[in-house]
Subunit: 243 residues, 2 copies
């Protein structure tokens, strides 16, 4: 018999599908690829252009001369206003992406009146990437950026971005960073990352107590260390029950 | 041999794939489905909530009291202002979706100054669906709506919506509406719809001249009728060459 896909000969034990099913599967694959193309076009259509940084937000009185200008400024509070520029944005976009911004901007809070939002504990670069993401759903992550953006996404309840960063961080968990990621995931309710890190930690219990990150964790947050041991114990019990 | 997909027995001539290729194809299908899920989440994230219709756009001076209120009104000109409400929208959204709105609103044109855009030859329902689509990329089409929206999408150069309507209309072309769709496609540069309609017309040349739509087309736009005959002639010549 000849495989229609790889064109190589195969015997009875290596049979995959019949011709009919092979053809159906090929059609399904084509359909799925078409759906992907359609969705990609839709994403491209829905993306908004983030405001360019040299634009100043229009004040109420000058809105007709610069009609689509952003009506908000976001300021990274770890920088003095003079050292890094503010990041301009549109209220309508922030409101539609984050329930926290919605509550802030649809109320009579200071931020809404002044059109200026100070974001604490964040660098200008991270804030800029964050606002850019709210417009485009696009970002090039590295581990530090994923970590910083996850914190910001959690704070402003941008679930989709948080999940995206968590997925990226989960893919980067290794023996070296498992304990740090475990503590981080705990602080920021990142279940997927927590499970991945915990699983790696449990695979390397024999060297656990020698690690510096472990000693720091015992110092700073011993309850998290207890949880590691509890999870390990539960796993041991389960293995024992199966034997 | 047993097909791993449908679990039925098959003989040598009906062989599809080997086991290895079957497993690879299954993995590919899973990956494509995951990609589709990811893209669907991204679309959901990027969608904006269209402004509710009971909101009035904030005037420049009152923007702080209703900060995310739309700053534009669109008016279907086939209705008097009193008979149908205006459709509110945000300049930033219209500008990012349509180069025509961009040119209109980033200039000193009357529409930009007044914050009011009159859209001619369109019903309130179609205008509302159009604006809604610019925010969400979502719509439930029927044939009339697809036709009306295609015209509007062409006028404002919203390519993605035009392609979407054209695809829908192409899927609905039949012997009954082929001539009307052919003329419509010609007027609005809808190549895919034009080809589908023309192909159906050429399959039914024997009854063409008896049809009312044909007689009307000869009356109103004889050049389009000439094009049908030219395409038909070309097809006949090609068939003759192949024999």
């Amino acid at each position: 018999m000849w495989c229609q896909s790889c064109r190589e000969e195969y015997g009875e034990v290596d049979a995959g599908t019949c011709k009919e099913c092979y053809e159906e599967a090929s059609e399904t694959e084509e359909e799925l690829k078409r759906e992907i193309d359609d969705l990609k076009s839709k994403v491209a259509f829905l993306r908004l252009s983030p405001p360019s940084l040299d634009l100043n937000p229009s004040s109420s009185s000058s809105s007709s001369s610069s009609p689509s200008a952003p009506d908000l400024l976001l300021l990274a509070s770890s920088h003095a206003p003079s050292s890094a520029p503010a990041v301009p944005a549109h209220r309508a976009v922030l409101i539609s992406r984050s329930p926290v911004f919605r509550a802030m901007l649809e109320s009579e809070m200071e931020e809404s009146r002044s059109g200026m939002i100070r974001i604490s504990d964040v660098s200008y670069d991270v804030l800029r990437a964050f606002v850019n993401y709210l417009y485009t759903a696009e970002i090039l992550l590295d581990e530090q950026m994923a970590c910083d953006l996850l914190v910001l996404a959690e704070k402003y309840q941008v679930k989709y971005l948080k999940a995206f960063c968590e997925k990226f961080m989960t893919s980067k968990v290794n023996n070296e960073n498992a304990i740090i990621n475990y503590a981080f995931a705990h602080r920021h309710n990142a279940k997927q990352l927590l499970d991945a890190a915990l699983s790696l930690i449990m695979d390397n219990m024999s060297t656990l107590v020698e690690r510096n990150e472990y000693k720091q964790l015992v110092e700073n947050d011993p309850r998290l260390v207890v949880e590691i041991y509890e999870a390990y114990l539960k796993k041991q019990v389960n293995i024992a029950l199966k034997i």
